[in-house]
Every structure is written in structure tokens, then in C-alpha cells.
């Protein structure tokens, strides 16, 4: 929805609050991407609401010159649900992290996704608890040594994209903090989609979990490890497009294109109503290690919860007329005392 006469500058979305993340934190880049994207839109500032939980990333709303709410740990999807349902005119964003969304708030996340409430959920995944200074999180790799796992974590991690697809989220995507253009294109696709969207952003915590995404970010490894998902395109990657993804009876598999032939490479279809193909793609990597899909896994049209609710109200009014409390309190039978 970029217009020729651009209404906003990025600075219109900045607040006077001092941004308090550690220098070098990936959160800064994401903040810049979001502000840049919002400035490109023709949506009034006051129509945006940012809701967060608790954690480093959850400071985000304080830095956005929109309406915002810093909520309680894990509950941002629930709070945002109330806002989105109460006023469908708003564009509601949820800012959350791996601990906030997947540990303490896991229940709210999956239910919000399955309900398809009109929310744009940005999950900053840094695979660590940063605010509490470095404990393993539900996306930390097995064996990770932290202050609460001195002998190595024995907690099996979630793959947030798989979890979202398992909840039948209607929009699921993944990007990298440092890739601002890709982040912005993912934000755009998510906002334009009706219902719940989940965008996982691999976010570097340079203080407590530096270089967690090195396979996908280092100059010498990134090209062979970034599997870009493009709707309608065969899934081909590698420095010279030498690798691809095929489906056989056992699911998605990485192959050398030369060995199977280009016509056997799977063509990505994000709007496939069946989430199992997207799920299989999400299983190509269990974390950001080795070749990992990035981009939109799933983007299907499903009516949002809010729209269905508004439709029920309209239908009820057509059938019963506008509410009349005087009638309701008499609906269970009355008698008159003279």
C-alpha cells in the first residue's frame, strides 16, 4: 500500500524514549525495519497498537510512536485478542520472544493461532533468556550450557514454525533480523493477510547467545544454508542454485538438483490449504543449523475470528432487531401485583 505521496518518515514512528537494548543487539535492526515498514503505509499512527509480554524484545512498544501496551509475561496474544476483537479497525501487532511466546505463553500462542484472530505476531527468537541474563529457552539447542544448565540443556527445543503450523496458523513465515528488506517484505505479507500471522525472526543476542545464527549469517556459509521460499517457485538454493527440495514418501528432502532434475524439485505453494506440506518443509531444519528455510511457509485465506464475530452480530440484529433490555428482562415470564 505504498503511495506516491509518502505520508510518514521513519522518525514519525520513533518515540522520545531512550532505546535500552545492549549495543549490537538484533532488536535494533528489527525496530528499524518495523518503523520503516509502517512509515511506508497509508495507515494512521493511531490505528496501530503494539502489545508485548515480558523480555528484552517486549520493550518494543515503548519505542513505537503508536498506541502500545507492555503486558504480562506470555499473555500478549490474549491481551491483543481483546483489543483486536473489541475494535476490528485497528492493526494489532504482538511483540514476543522465544521464552514469552513458547514457554510461559505457549498456550495463548497456539490458541490465538488456531482461532485466527486478526493479529500480526512477531516472534523474536534469540534462543536464550536475555532479560534474566542468560538461561536456556524453549528454543535453545540440546546440550546448551547456560547458568541454569551447567552440564548442558536436556530440554528438547521447539521449532516455532512447526509449532505454528501444527496449530494450523493461516500465515507463518521466518526471516533474519539483519536482512531488513526481507523482514519488511514478510511484515507486509503478514499485515495484508487476514487473521493471525506468525513471523519468526532469528534475532541475535550478542551478549548471551552471540552467533547462534552463524550458519545463516556468516559470509562463507550463508548462501549454502539459506533456503528461500518463494511462492510458485521451485525451492532451489545454494551459491549456484545447486541444491533443491523434493518430496518423497518420507517427506521433504534436500537433494542436488543435478541428480534429480529440475522438474522434480518441489514448487512452493504457500496457499496450499493442507498444512502438512509446509510442516514438512519446516522439518528440514530443527533450528538454524545447516540449510534452513526462510520466507513464507503458509499463507492461506481463512476468515478471522473478529470478522466471524461481527457477522454473528449483524445476523443476530437482522433476526432479532437491536437489543432491547426491557424485553430481555421480561423474557422469562412476568406477573403484575396490583
Amino acid at each position: 500500500m505504498t503511495t506516491d505521496t509518502k505520508r510518514f518518515e521513519r522518525s514519525d514512528f520513533q518515540t522520545d524514549q531512550e532505546v535500552r537494548w545492549c549495543p549490537g543487539c538484533g532488536d535494533y535492526t528489527i525496530l528499524a525495519s518495523v518503523q520503516t515498514y509502517l512509515a511506508s503505509l497509508d495507515i494512521d499512527r493511531e490505528k496501530h497498537v503494539f502489545v508485548s509480554g515480558i523480555g528484552c524484545s517486549s520493550r518494543f512498544p515503548y519505542y513505537m510512536n503508536t498506541y502500545g501496551m507492555h503486558g504480562v509475561h506470555g499473555r500478549a496474544p490474549a491481551i491483543a485478542t481483546g483489543i483486536a476483537i473489541a475494535n476490528p479497525e485497528l492493526t494489532v501487532w504482538v511483540i514476543t520472544g522465544d521464552g514469552d511466546a513458547l514457554s510461559i505463553g505457549g498456550n495463548h500462542l497456539i490458541h490465538t493461532l488456531r482461532r485466527n484472530v486478526n493479529l500480526n505476531i512477531i516472534l523474536f527468537n534469540n534462543q536464550i533468556y536475555g532479560l534474566t541474563k542468560g538461561q536456556f529457552s524453549p528454543t535453545s539447542e540440546l546440550g546448551k550450557k547456560t547458568k541454569t544448565s551447567p552440564m548442558g540443556s536436556i530440554d528438547r527445543p521447539f521449532n516455532p514454525v512447526s509449532l505454528a503450523l501444527g496449530s494450523e496458523a493461516s500465515f507463518v513465515a521466518r526471516t533474519l533480523d539483519m536482512d531488513r528488506n526481507h523482514t519488511i517484505s514478510m511484515l507486509k505479507a503478514m499485515r495484508e493477510h487476514e487473521g493471525s500471522g506468525l513471523l519468526e525472526i532469528y534475532q541475535n543476542c550478542n551478549v548471551f547467545n552471540d552467533k547462534a545464527f552463524l550458519d545463516l549469517t556468516a559470509k562463507d556459509t550463508r548462501d549454502e544454508n539459506r533456503i528461500w521460499l518463494e511462492d510458485g517457485e521451485p525451492i532451489i538454493f545454494g551459491p549456484n542454485g545447486e541444491y533443491g527440495v523434493t518430496f518423497d514418501g518420507k517427506g521433504a528432502r534436500i537433494v542436488e538438483v543435478s541428480q534429480v532434475g529440475r522438474h522434480n524439485i518441489h514448487v512452493h505453494n504457500a496457499s496450499n490449504p493442507d498444512p502438512s506440506v509446509a510442516f514438512a518443509l519446516s522439518r528440514l531444519a530443527h533450528g538454524p543449523y545447516g540449510p534452513t528455510p526462510l520466507g513464507i511457509f503458509r499463507n492461506v485465506p481463512v476468515p478471522s475470528y473478529g470478522r466471524l464475530l461481527e457477522e454473528q452480530i449483524t445476523r443476530a440484529r437482522e433476526k432479532q432487531g437491536p437489543g432491547d433490555l426491557a424485553k430481555v428482562i421480561r423474557s422469562r415470564g412476568t406477573w403484575t401485583v396490583e
Partner: protein, 622 residues
């Protein structure tokens, strides 16, 4: 026998002033329905009434066992009554378990109507009877009326098209018909209801009507039932009445508040006994634009409610004790942010799952203090089913005016009981609206600027231009609302949040004192109202000098409460807990009271309060 009711050759019924009847049977026997219909018919006749349904805790307790007994008590009278009665004058026992579970409550000499068909060896065994109590003389202190209800029902419904064991389902209607004969009630409203519900011509509808008539006719033709009773209409104040259930009245009060506040209504909730029917009632009225949201859990229920408050709705969440515990964290956030919200706690027996279907008042201190940090909020309490309408309206008024979450306490007894309610003039309810914030564009918008009188902040909602701001759980600067860790600011804000709640005292009604006796004040709150008032009236008639005060507001207390306490020599506080209001009164006023505290999962009984009063005034209790 013809299908029609026999021409009555009714012997003159004995005129009585009131009667307490308890319908009891297995959960599957339809006793709630029988009781409700008997009540409806009495209401239309013009009696005053008060009901008390009592459900087994388990949804499917083993059939025929004492644990599976469900009962419905109704008190009908030709005078203004306030309670469903302490003890039944008449018990309908559909099986041995129902008899066993209830017989000890029946007043000596009372009536017991039994369904003799259910008193076979198997059922007697399940109820734990070694021999049949109907035959062994153990019921000699009562008048036992016997009817083979199952045989007679089967016979009555044989032409309806309902076959086999299904025919027995109408036996509650047989009992209802027979009770209608004994207490001189008309069958017409019940038949009308059946027609409405099932259609009188459907097999189920016609079976129910046939069984109903058969029960009535059995009374006419059977000599044993020829002593009948009649209770005249009660001289209630003139007006239009309905028989209202507490949870429904709460829901309607909230609807009225949304209307008078001119706000969209949002309810975020999770099903929990005994609060669920508020959610159910509000979900029925989508045409009012009411948005009900059944969340994934209690936490999401209040989370979404808070979100709706952010967005400018009158936001409600409903729950019971275990759910209130889960909501506590978000409740603190709501009061930190300072947004209006109503949390309805329909209290039940606790702790933990406790007695989910039974009444208790044991969440009072939790409502008062169950939050982290210095987190005061207003508490409004409900004293009877029809009072729930006013209480809910008052909770909303305070929440909106003072930008604060308010806890509305009701309980499992109020939730399911009913009483006649004189319909209010909705147009005469006060306007409780507050405008959203405005900003003239000069200088920054200050979301935490306060009205000097109410100390309430502005309510600026997303979508409003020029007032974009951020709220959150971190301590905030007293003006800008920006995060502030300045020690003095935190202390100032802590005092301010407390002062805001305390000064609501100036805006709430004084507690009324009933009676001018000064020897003893009986102070109560919540659903004990009827029992306390009944007991106080009785002892004053005997010449004692006792008054009754009942609290609508518990936080803050009404401003005259200190004086009222001081005017009386002693204070008795009956509660369905172990003395929670007593603690608050001692803390606030330094007044030591005597407690009458029972936690039997039942409403308090007037006669026990009465004897407590006697004991105190006779000096038997220090």
C-alpha cells in the same frame, strides 16, 4: 381415565402462610425441572418465593447413590420472605438415596412424598439402607404419602408414543402434578411451558402433560391425599415481577451498565462452575452487539478483557475461586495501568477444586489482598439473586468513574437461586458514562494526568488521534506515564493508587441499619442477607434489641460503618467462612466481633443465627 383433569371435588384446603418444599431425586430424575416449574406456577399465582437448587458435585455420580442426589428447595409464602427456608416442611423423595440424603432436614411432623416404585432392594442397597425405611417405622414422626409413581406414569403415557424406559422420564411430571394438587397450584402454566418447550403434540410433550395430569388426578382420587394446602398471594409492592436467577440478574445488570455507560460490552471468560451461566446468558444476546469471548483459560479470559478495556469497552470477566487465583497477575496489571474492568467472582467452596457446586464466602480476603505489590481495588458484594442486578451496575459505575478494576463478589447460592424481582424502570437508571480523553494538541498528551476530584486518569483509546501513548506494568511517571524507576515517584504512585480507592468512600452509600436495637449489631455481607434479616426480625419480635447492617461495599467500607459499629454494644458477624470479614473489621476499626462461621457448603440458616443471637445476649458467648 380420561386425559383431562377430573372435575375437582376438592375438600377445602388448609390455609397456610408459607411452606418449604424440597424436591429430591437422582440427578437424572428431573428434580431441578420439577422444582423450577412448581416455582414458576407459584410465582404467577403471586406468592413470594425463594429457591435453592443443590446439585451433586459430580456430573455423573453413580445412579441411585446418596452422592448423586440432586435437589431443589423452594419456599413459597403469602408474606415477604427472604430465604429458601431452613428446613423443608415437605420432601419429595424419588428414590431411597434422596430420602436418606434429606430426611434429617425435614421438620418433625412434615410431609414426605415417596415414589414407592424406587424403593426396591437394589436401590435401598445403593442408598445404604438395610431395610425399607417406609415400612420399618423409622419415618413415624412424619406424614408419609406413598405413590407408585413409575407404574402410574407408565400407565399414563402409554398413548403418547413414548416407549419403554423412556416413559419413566416423565415421572417428575407425575410428582409435579401430585404436588400441584396437594398445594393447590394450577397446572396451566406448566402445560403452557411444556407446549413451548417440546410442543404439546410431540410424544415427549404429550407424555409430560399426561403424566402431569395423572399425578394431579391421583391426588383427587386417592383418599390419602385429601388433606391439601393453600398459600395465598403475598402482598408484594405493586409492580411487574419476574422470577430471576442470580447469575442471570448479574448478566442483566452488566448489560444495563453498558447501556447507561454508552460503551460496547465485552466479556472474556473461561467456563467454571458456578459462574458459567453469566457467560451463557451474555452469549445469547449478540444482537446487543455484546462480544463474548470464551478463552483458552482463565488467564486469557482476563487478558482479553484487559485488551478490550484498552480498546474502550466495558470489559468483564467472570470466574470462581480457582480462576480468580489465575487471574491475579493480570488483575494487578489492570490496576497498575488503571483501566476499568469488572471481575465477577462467583464464590464456591475452596480451597482448590473444593466444593465446586456449593456456596462459600471464603474468597473475601483473597479478593481483598490476593495480588502482588500494594494493589488495592474496590470490592462490591451481592446479597441476593435479584440484588445481583444492582450490584453489577454499581460495580460498573465505580470501575468506569474511577478507572479501576472492581471485584464483584457473588456466590454459588446466589448464582443458581431465584426470587421475585420487581422489574426496574430501566430509563430511570443513572447515566454512568464517561467520555474518552480529549486533547487540544497543545503540549504532549499526558495519559496519567488525573481528575483532581476522582483521581481517575484519562481514558484514551487506540484509534484516537494525537493521544498515542504506551501503557504497561512497569512503574510509570505520575504525569507522562513513561517508565520511571525514580524511588520517590514509586512511593508517590503507591500512595496515589491507594488514595484513589480509599476516597471512593465519599461516593458510596452509607450502610443502612435495620432496626434500632443497640445491644447487638449483626453485620453481614453477601448471600447471608436473607438469613440474617429473618433471624434479626424474629428476635426483635421477641423483644430483643438487635439491628442488622449488610455491606454492599467492602472496599472501601462505607464511611458511616465506624459509627454504626460504635453505636452497638456487641457485634456478631455471621459468614460462610472462618471469619474473614471479622478480620477486616478488626483491622480497620479495632472492633472485636463474635463470629458465626459455618462452611457446610450450604447457605446459613436463620434459626442458627437466631440461636447464636440468643446465646450472645444471654451471655453464653464471650
Amino acid at each position: 381415565m380420561s386425559d383431562d383433569t377430573l372435575t375437582e371435588s376438592r375438600p377445602a384446603p388448609e390455609q397456610i402462610k408459607d411452606v418449604v418444599i424440597r424436591f429430591a431425586g437422582d440427578s437424572g430424575d428431573g428434580m431441578q425441572l420439577a422444582g423450577t416449574q412448581f416455582t414458576a406456577s407459584s410465582a404467577l399465582f403471586g406468592n413470594d418465593l425463594s429457591t435453592f437448587p443443590n446439585f451433586p458435585a459430580e456430573i455423573r455420580a453413580p445412579q441411585g447413590t446418596v452422592g448423586g442426589v440432586s435437589s431443589f428447595q423452594v419456599h413459597i409464602a403469602d408474606w415477604d420472605i427472604l430465604t429458601p427456608g431452613d428446613r423443608p416442611d415437605c420432601l419429595v423423595a424419588m428414590n431411597p438415596a434422596a430420602l436418606k440424603a434429606n430426611v434429617d432436614d425435614v421438620v418433625p411432623g412434615g410431609l414426605i412424598l415417596v415414589n414407592t416404585d424406587a424403593f426396591d432392594e437394589r436401590n435401598l442397597g445403593k442408598a445404604g439402607y438395610d431395610e425399607n425405611p417406609i415400612d420399618n417405622g423409622s419415618l413415624d414422626t412424619y406424614t408419609v404419602l406413598k405413590a407408585p409413581m413409575e407404574e402410574l406414569t407408565k400407565d399414563a403415557v402409554k398413548d403418547s408414543g413414548v416407549k419403554g424406559r423412556a416413559a419413566l422420564r416423565s415421572k417428575n411430571f407425575f410428582a409435579l402434578g401430585l404436588m400441584s394438587w396437594i398445594y393447590t397450584r394450577s397446572l396451566d402454566p406448566i402445560i403452557e411451558w411444556v407446549d413451548d418447550k417440546f410442543g404439546a403434540d410431540t410424544p415427549v410433550g404429550s407424555a409430560n402433560v399426561s403424566a402431569l395430569r395423572a399425578g394431579y388426578n391421583y391426588g383427587i382420587t386417592t383418599e390419602a391425599f385429601h388433606h391439601t394446602y393453600e398459600i395465598n398471594p403475598a402482598p408484594l409492592p405493586a409492580g411487574e415481577y419476574t422470577n430471576v436467577i442470580g447469575n442471570v440478574a448479574s448478566a442483566w445488570g452488566i448489560m444495563a451498565a453498558a447501556d447507561k455507560a454508552n460503551l460496547p460490552l465485552f466479556l472474556g471468560s473461561y467456563p467454571i462452575t458456578p459462574a458459567t451461566t453469566i457467560l451463557e446468558e451474555l452469549a445469547r444476546h449478540r444482537n446487543f452487539g455484546i462480544k463474548t469471548f470464551q478463552a483458552e483459560d482463565e488467564i486469557a479470559g482476563i487478558g482479553a478483557t484487559l485488551g478490550a478495556a484498552v480498546a474502550g469497552s466495558l470489559a468483564i470477566t467472570t470466574t470462581s475461586g480457582p480462576g480468580l487465583a489465575l487471574k491475579s497477575e493480570t488483575l494487578s496489571l489492570a490496576l497498575m495501568i488503571e483501566l476499568p474492568m469488572i471481575i465477577v467472582d462467583v464464590q464456591r467452596g475452596g480451597p482448590s477444586t473444593g466444593l465446586p457446586t456449593k456456596v462459600e464466602q471464603s474468597d473475601l480476603l483473597f479478593a481483598m489482598y490476593g495480588r502482588h505489590g500494594e494493589a488495592p481495588l474496590p470490592i462490591v458484594s451481592t446479597s441476593s439473586p435479584s440484588d445481583a442486578f444492582d450490584a453489577a451496575f454499581e460495580a460498573a459505575r465505580i470501575a468506569i468513574k474511577y478507572m479501576t478494576p472492581v471485584i464483584l463478589l457473588t456466590d454459588g447460592y446466589i448464582a443458581t437461586s431465584s426470587e421475585p424481582w420487581k422489574l426496574p424502570d430501566l430509563d430511570a437508571l443513572p447515566d454512568i458514562s464517561r467520555p474518552y480523553a480529549t486533547h487540544n494538541g497543545e503540549g504532549p498528551f499526558l495519559p496519567y494526568e488525573r481528575d483532581p476530584e476522582t483521581l481517575a486518569r484519562e481514558w484514551a483509546i487506540p484509534g484516537q488521534t494525537g493521544m498515542e501513548h504506551r501503557v504497561g506494568g512497569l512503574e510509570k511517571d505520575s504525569q507522562t506515564g513513561n517508565v520511571s524507576y525514580v524511588p520517590e515517584n514509586h512511593e508517590h504512585m503507591s500512595h496515589l493508587r491507594d488514595a484513589k480507592i480509599q476516597q471512593i468512600q465519599a461516593d458510596i452509600a452509607d450502610v443502612e441499619v435495620h432496626g434500632d436495637g443497640t445491644d447487638l449489631l449483626v453485620l453481614g455481607w453477601g448471600s447471608t442477607y436473607g438469613a440474617i434479616r429473618t433471624a434479626v426480625d424474629r428476635v426483635n419480635k421477641e423483644g430483643l434489641s438487635v439491628s442488622h447492617a449488610h455491606l454492599r461495599h467492602i472496599s472501601p467500607f462505607p464511611k458511616n460503618l465506624g459509627d454504626v459499629l460504635a453505636r452497638h454494644d456487641r457485634v456478631l458477624i455471621p459468614e460462610i467462612n472462618l471469619g474473614q470479614l471479622s478480620k477486616l473489621i478488626r483491622a480497620e476499626y479495632g472492633v472485636d466481633s463474635t463470629g458465626y462461621n459455618r462452611v457446610l457448603g450450604q447457605p446459613l440458616r436463620a434459626r442458627f443465627i437466631e440461636s447464636e443471637i440468643h446465646d450472645i445476649l444471654n451471655g453464653e458467648t464471650s
